[in-house]
């Protein structure tokens, strides 16, 4: 060897971490590499067996959080379209008084609306009856009587605000942290950061009921993260996960026989090529095989008691008259089943369950439409919270219920409409609630002004919510990053200082 550099100077460059790789993954890959190196000489039956058993090859393998977590799993109800907080959770007697009156013009300055014409807009009171519930005296409208019985387990945040007033951008912001495409959803970040407790089921599952949302599949995309972190849709009919069932005429026995041959052939190839990706491929096929039995077992509700099914509302048909939130007359039943499936998923270690229901976009006919949707959601969501609690799962399962923005105190006066029967998009102030996962029950956080126009106490930006959610999982939103296009990306916007709200935590 000729020229020399001091020894200390170089090793860092030799093992330059693969850019953008998760530090824990990097470590795992190194260990894996060592394992394979030692086995590389003659990979026979034993080495193959260890490959099959090795979950280390999976990027979904459980990982340690950055600091002590409060929550382990999350069930996130995304009510796309924006439910009216003024008719569900945030009572405004003053707004009722001012019904039909114009509002203080200064509040409208510089504000943009999707449909409202500012000049002629008037305030619209709520037809709902509100009452306080639980020891905490939390307010609920008469549309959510079951939820009201969970008052002391809920953390109700009434002072959320966001930057977007159109659906798809707003939904992207709430689900991915920014109103841009190509970014990973919350569930992708969580599984990227923590992996999943189960390898036999996807770590990030999406359940849907009713019609498709504005954002469609872009709401559970993994963006610049590998597709393994993408939300996997659990389907309401047919295979719960796509391609789960063997082709007709192929019994499990032959599937197993085929996979044994496949593993053997791939192992032979591995012995020649020494490429760790082949070992990963073998492990993936084994996981697939396990998923083939785990997913149907999960979807099979025959072991659930009739009382449980009834509590979740699986016996309910959509009320007559439907509503835009309905999709084929079985939305109530599907949504109830989704809630029950969500519990079964977190029981089995699924990290993140996203339940998406669209059609809360009530520009008109709000009373009727909201009644339909709230009726769909109220009983099963309350049942889920109680069921989780009773099974001791609520402590480690964060339940979130929310949307991309809220609805205006102004009635919607879109040209051509005779009467104001609905509300427009309102990014300035809206409400979401959480339960379990270490949040403080019975807490009503933040306050809006007397007509619900702006938050006046403890405003919470959507990104603050994101930062706090990650913190509950023991992840620092500024340190859970992924390098893409030369920049460190994270769930929260890099241009905005997001705050973690300690007050929410028990």
């Amino acid at each position: 060897m000729g020229r020399h550099r001091p020894d200390y100077h170089q090793p860092r460059r030799v093992y330059r971490p693969q850019l953008g790789m998760h530090p824990i993954e990097e470590y795992q890959q190194l260990t894996r590499r060592h394992f394979l190196t030692s086995a590389a000489g003659g990979i026979g039956g034993t080495a193959l067996a260890s490959m099959l058993g090795s979950d280390l090859t999976s990027p979904m393998a459980p990982k340690l959080s950055q600091f002590a977590p409060k929550a382990k799993n999350c069930i996130f109800f995304f009510m796309a379209g924006a439910p009216s907080q003024l008719d569900l959770f945030d009572p405004k007697p003053k707004l009722n008084e001012l019904d039909g009156k114009k509002m203080d013009g200064s509040l409208l300055e510089g504000k943009r609306f999707a449909f409202i014409k500012k000049e002629s807009a008037v305030l619209m009171g709520s037809n709902r009856k509100f009452a306080q519930h639980g020891q905490s005296g939390m307010w609920f409208s008469d549309l959510v009587p079951n939820l009201a019985t969970c008052a002391d387990d809920l953390c109700m945040v009434r002072s959320l605000h966001t930057d977007q007033f159109n659906h798809h951008p707003g939904q992207l912001l709430m689900q991915t942290g920014e109103a841009n495409f190509g970014r990973p959803a919350i569930g992708s970040w969580l599984t990227y950061g923590l992996g999943s407790e189960t390898q036999n089921l996807p770590g990030y599952v999406v359940l849907t009921a009713g019609r498709g949302s504005s954002g469609g599949a872009t709401l559970w995309q993994s963006g610049f993260l590998p597709s393994v972190y993408e939300g996997v849709r659990f389907r309401n009919s047919g295979d719960p996960v796509l391609n789960l069932t063997n082709p007709a005429g192929l019994p499990d026995k032959l599937q197993r026989r085929g996979l044994d041959a496949l593993n053997e052939l791939n192992a032979m190839r591995h012995a020649k090529m020494h490429d760790p990706e082949i070992a990963s491929r073998i492990a993936s096929y084994e996981l697939a095989f396990r998923m083939q039995s785990a997913a149907p077992e999960l979807a099979d509700l025959s072991g659930e008691s009739e009382a449980t099914k009834e509590a979740y509302g699986l016996n309910r048909k959509d009320p007559k008259g439907g509503g835009r939130g309905s999709g084929g007359g079985e939305t109530y039943e599907t949504f109830g089943r989704n809630c029950l499936l969500a519990r079964r998923m977190v029981e089995r270690g699924v990290r993140f369950v996203n339940i998406v229901h669209a059609s809360w976009d009530h520009h008109s006919n709000l009373d009727h439409e909201l009644e339909f949707n709230a009726g769909m959601s109220d009983q099963p969501v309350a049942a889920l919270i109680k069921d989780l609690k009773q099974r001791g799962l609520l402590d480690e399962t964060l339940v979130v219920w929310g949307s991309e923005f809220g609805r205006t105190p102004l009635g919607e006066n879109r040209p051509g409409r005779k009467a104001n029967t609905g509300r427009d998009h309102h990014p300035n102030a809206f409400t979401m609630f959480m339960a379990g996962g270490g949040v403080k029950g019975g807490l009503t956080y933040g306050e809006t002004d007397e007509i619900g126009w702006d938050p006046i106490v403890d405003p919470v930006h959507a990104n603050d919510f994101h930062a706090t959610l990650l913190a509950m999982f023991g992840l620092d939103h500024e340190r859970l990053t992924h390098r893409h296009g030369g920049l460190e990306h994270r769930l929260t916007s890099v241009t905005r200082k997001s705050k973690i709200i300690d007050d929410w935590m028990a």
Partner: protein
């Protein structure tokens, strides 16, 4: 040369020192700048300039900071505040304040650099390319081209032998997959293996380069960068029925090996190329792949601004490898790009409006048969054509030599039947005012002073007082002259400079309703028609002219002038009046198109075919009226333009190759991008091309050539390659061939256990890599080996079967997926209709990008969902069934061994080894045994009619395992 016996970290450390093109001292770009970028720039960068200095502007480092201390004093590390602070014992004083302290070796590096004078260099990628001198190799036999000299030099320094050349089965499959994305046919494989000629390999490379599938394969790579999709993106996510036309353009461009510089210029600024062809306009659709939001409440300007930002940043990433998007809100945190400079770049695209262009749906050559017939008919009519042209030319010459005299006669009386007023204007024209009648007749008495009047000319003129400026009084400015009469004379010919379809001036010679002269859609302009007299009016005197306009619907003339023409002119078709007698080509063209009945029919047919097969494609077109000024948006918010700070168009000044043109246009920008002096474009693009042939780039950060990208180990090779790209006239095929012909490319791809601990990631290119093929190619491979694949190139997107509930995920479940029938069910993966909010899950599962942002390198994951897809999904299962059918029906295959070998080779090209065959035969036997006892299942697994369903099912269950082999979806 020997392999190192005991590879160790320490040894590798030592080796890389020599491998890297180092001088004895610290290398700024490699050693120093990455430390500043990684550890310091988050506070002292483009966003935060804490204490008033920033590592993105080195001048601030050598001057006193706010504290008074000087961050860096060249030659004096002991006086440099940076050194004092990074090594400070007090954690409150130590820099960086958060995260780990700098490692001792990093501190040492910085000290050394300051001690040696703290020479600040530009970031390597911003400097001109410098391939250095070609490295000398000890082994002079191995290298076949420049690439190999560089690769081998590194390997030799590291005392590593390159891997042996891959066997021929692997080679041909590798080349076929890389160039066409399809597996090689077994005939081609066997011919190549048997070919003893010295250029056997080059022959197959040329063969696949010439394949029409080459364009498909490489177009798909480009579509990733262009964020191509078949729908709008947001919410309703409307289908873009014309998107594929541009995809077709990209395929054609690659197949014709259009030089990359032209490819660039046409896509960035095709609309600004003088006399741009429709194809050049179409090229600009690169930037029409942006998302579009049609939600009811969207602010269109906000959405437009978003698209313009996307165009600017996509251009920067794709051509320059720069991440400019962060500079839309603030100065770039790491790279020396200010927010103002971002908007200078943005402004090139700010007046690039969205428009459409009519383009042929298929390549012009597809019209060749019709053109052929026409050409043949022209040959037949040639003699007749020549005679006709000679006559007309003579008439034109005569007319030119005998100019006519024109007079605007005095108007003695002008009356309207409806009672409208005809007011004489200074120019001798008459303006019609008053209530607009449904119909009208104007009668004019004129005094003519000229003798021998042979014709009368009617000019219709625009006027501001008329609807749409006239010249008619109908709402759209049109009129219909139903008849023109001169009392006592007969008119017998009529010509006009323009006439509406089916309403030509000849119709005004006779009295019949609904015929006459009209001018739609050419309203708002002056027009004229000339009517010839059967017999000239010999003497001067008074004449009476009647303009009958009984068409109805206000179609009456609003302003007009009559003149008389004297002197005999020979008849020439009105369209040809303006031609010179020597414009023979134009005359001949007229003959074939209008006079000769046979050819006229063919010309017409061809024109119709072209018109019928046209589609309006979305393109970019420069806004010429009221251009938008560009302002810096405060914090990137389009509602906060900083109007006091004007912005001129310019490219980022970070590069050694400055953009210095005043009043520059998008076309100038495009040319600057591909100027030879531009240090980035050729590097970025050849790096991407390399990555498609090696699975990784020579510079590993394909999408980031900014300051945080360390100088790659292979920077000299990258510079050589980039220069070679330009030297080859930006020919992509030539560059690809150069890489593929290299020995470096031809190496075997087996990982080498002896090198795992020291070059596991193959940074030194001691072997080929084994990338998994992309999502589309997974589909193509399965369909191809089964015999199902339709090899049609290009055309509209198709709808292969997907699960019903996928489309239902679209907004309000509004999207209907109409499954294609026939061979369109089996097209290549790249033609599957891509609905952004509800894409085909088979594509996404295998890491196909979501097409919302530019993607330069795809990720490649390895998940159970992929295994489930290729094992169970109907597309792949159907392929296995058809594959089986073809195996069992092939009369050349008789035994299990022959069939298994055939199936194995169809997938992998190589022959199976003995133990592989043993495993497969064991599986086949067990499958047979099972189905012998379960015929019902056998009929389900292999539902086609077979004489022996047990046999068929046993084979399907075996074949599907072969098509699930790792090796099948890996390019080895």
């Amino acid at each position: 040369m020997n392999f190192p016996k005991t590879p160790s970290l320490l040894r590798l450390a030592a080796i890389l020192v020599v491998v890297l093109p180092v001088r004895a001292e610290v290398d700024f770009g490699r050693d120093v700048l990455p430390i500043f970028s990684a550890k310091c720039a988050s506070c002292h960068g483009g966003v935060k300039k804490t204490s008033g200095f920033t590592f993105t502007n080195y001048r601030t480092l050598f001057a006193p900071a706010k504290s008074g201390a000087i961050p860096i004093v060249p030659g004096k590390p002991e006086n440099s505040e940076v050194i004092a602070r990074i090594g400070h014992a007090d954690p409150d004083e130590r820099m960086p304040p958060e995260g780990a302290a700098l490692k001792p070796e990093e501190i040492e590096t910085l000290k050394e650099w300051i001690a040696s004078g703290a020479e600040w260099q530009e970031h390597w990628a911003f400097l001109p390319r410098n391939p250095g001198i070609r490295p000398r190799n000890k082994n002079t036999i191995w290298p076949v081209n420049g690439i190999d000299h560089y690769v081998l030099a590194n390997l030799e320094t590291a005392r590593i032998e390159p891997s042996p050349e891959a066997d021929r089965y692997t080679l041909i499959r590798r080349v076929a997959l890389d160039l066409t994305g399809l597996p090689p046919g077994l005939i081609e494989v066997d011919a190549f293996v048997a070919d003893k000629s010295p250029n056997a390999y080059e022959k197959i490379v040329d063969h696949y380069l010439a394949s029409p599938h080459f364009g498909e394969r490489w177009a798909r790579h480009w579509l990733d960068q262009a964020r191509y999709a078949d729908s709008d993106g947001y919410e309703k996510d409307n289908a873009r029925g014309d998107a594929w036309v541009w995809r077709q353009w990209v395929i054609d461009s690659l197949n014709h090996d259009q030089p990359f510089d032209q490819f660039t210029i046409e896509q960035i600024a095709g609309d600004l190329i003088p006399d741009a062809t429709p194809g050049q306009h179409l090229a600009t659709a690169f930037h029409r792949q942006t998302l579009f939001n049609r939600e009811g409440g969207v602010d269109p300007e906000e959405d437009r601004t978003k698209r313009v930002i996307d165009r600017a940043t996509t251009t920067a990433t794709t051509w320059l490898g720069l991440t400019m998007q962060c500079a839309q809100c603030h100065d770039h945190p790491y790279d020396p790009i200010t927010q103002k400079e971002f908007y200078q770049f943005y402004s090139f695209f700010n007046n690039a409006d969205e428009s459409t262009v009519g383009v042929p749906k298929f390549r012009v050559s597809d019209l060749a048969p019709k053109e052929d017939t026409l050409e043949k008919a022209k040959v037949v009519a040639r003699a007749e054509a020549e005679l006709w042209v000679k006559n007309i030319s003579a008439s034109l010459a005569y007319n030119a030599a005998h100019p006519s005299m024109t007079e605007v006669p005095k108007v003695l009386k002008a009356e309207s039947a409806s009672g409208a007023k005809l007011e004489l204007q200074k120019d001798g024209s008459l303006l019609v005012t008053g209530a607009i009648p449904d119909k009208d007749v104007y009668t004019l008495r004129l005094s003519v002073s000229q003798a021998d009047v042979s014709a009368i000319k009617l000019e219709v003129l625009p006027d501001k007082g008329l609807p749409k400026n006239g010249p008619g009084r109908a709402k759209n400015g049109n009129f219909v002259l139903e008849q023109i009469l001169i009392e006592g004379s007969q008119l017998n010919s009529a010509t006009a400079d323009f006439h509406q379809q089916k309403l030509d001036p000849g119709g005004a010679l006779k009295e019949s309703e609904k015929t006459g002269w009209a001018i739609s859609p050419e309203m708002g302009k002056a027009h004229q028609a000339t009517f010839g007299l059967e017999t000239p009016i010999a003497k001067p005197g008074e004449i009476t002219v009647k303009l009958v306009q009984n068409y109805g619907g206000d179609h009456v003339i609003g302003r007009f002038r009559l003149s008389v023409i004297s002197g005999e002119q020979r008849p020439v078709p009105s369209e040809l009046h303006k031609l010179r007698p020597d414009q023979f080509d134009e005359l001949e063209q007229h003959y074939f198109a209008r006079i000769n009945q046979t050819t006229a029919a063919l010309v017409n047919e061809l024109a119709e075919a072209k018109k019928r097969n046209r589609v309006n494609a979305r393109v970019i077109r420069q806004r010429d009226k009221s251009p938008r000024p560009t302002y810096i948006f405060h914090r990137g918010d389009f509602l906060q333009p900083q109007k006091d700070l004007g912005v001129v168009q310019s490219a980022p000044p970070v590069l050694a190759h400055r953009f210095e043109k005043e009043n520059a246009t998008r076309l100038d920008l495009a040319r600057w991008l591909v100027a030879e002096e531009n240090p980035l474009t050729a590097r970025v693009v050849s790096n991407v091309i390399w990555s498609h042939l090696f699975g990784e780039g020579l510079a590993p950060t394909l999408d980031d050539f900014g300051s945080r990208a360390p100088r790659p180990i292979h920077s000299r090779l990258l510079d050589w390659l980039a220069n070679e790209f330009i030297r080859l006239g930006w020919s992509r095929k030539q560059l690809i061939k150069t890489i593929i012909m290299s020995r470096s490319y031809r190496q075997a791809s087996a990982h080498r256990p002896d090198l795992i601990s020291f070059d596991a990631n193959n940074r030194l290119l001691h072997r080929q890599n084994r990338p998994r093929v992309e999502a589309e190619i997974v589909r193509d491979l399965h369909l191809s080996v089964s015999g199902l694949l339709s090899k049609k190139v290009g055309g509209e997107s198709v709808f292969p079967p997907i699960p019903a509930d996928v489309a239902a995920q679209s907004y309000a479940s509004s999207f209907k997926w109409k499954t294609s029938s026939g061979s369109d069910r089996y097209r290549r993966g790249m033609y599957t209709f891509f609905k952004r909010t509800a894409p085909d899950p088979n594509l996404l599962t295998f890491d196909c990008p979501d097409s919302n942002l530019t993607v330069i390198s795809r990720s490649s994951s390895n998940t159970p969902l992929m295994a489930l897809a290729t094992l169970q999904n109907e597309v792949f299962h159907e392929a296995a069934q058809t594959f089986t059918k073809n195996l069992l029906e092939n009369p050349a295959l008789q035994t299990d061994m022959e069939r298994l070998t055939q199936a194995f080779r169809a997938c992998l090209a190589r022959f199976p080894e003995e133990d592989e065959l043993v495993t497969l035969i064991g599986l086949l036997k067990d499958n047979r045994e099972y189905y012998r006892d379960d015929k019902e299942s056998a009929l389900k697994l292999a539902p086609s009619k077979y004489s022996d369903p047990v046999e068929a099912a046993a084979w399907v269950a075996t074949v599907r395992i072969i098509t699930n082999l790792d090796e099948f979806i890996v390019r080895n």
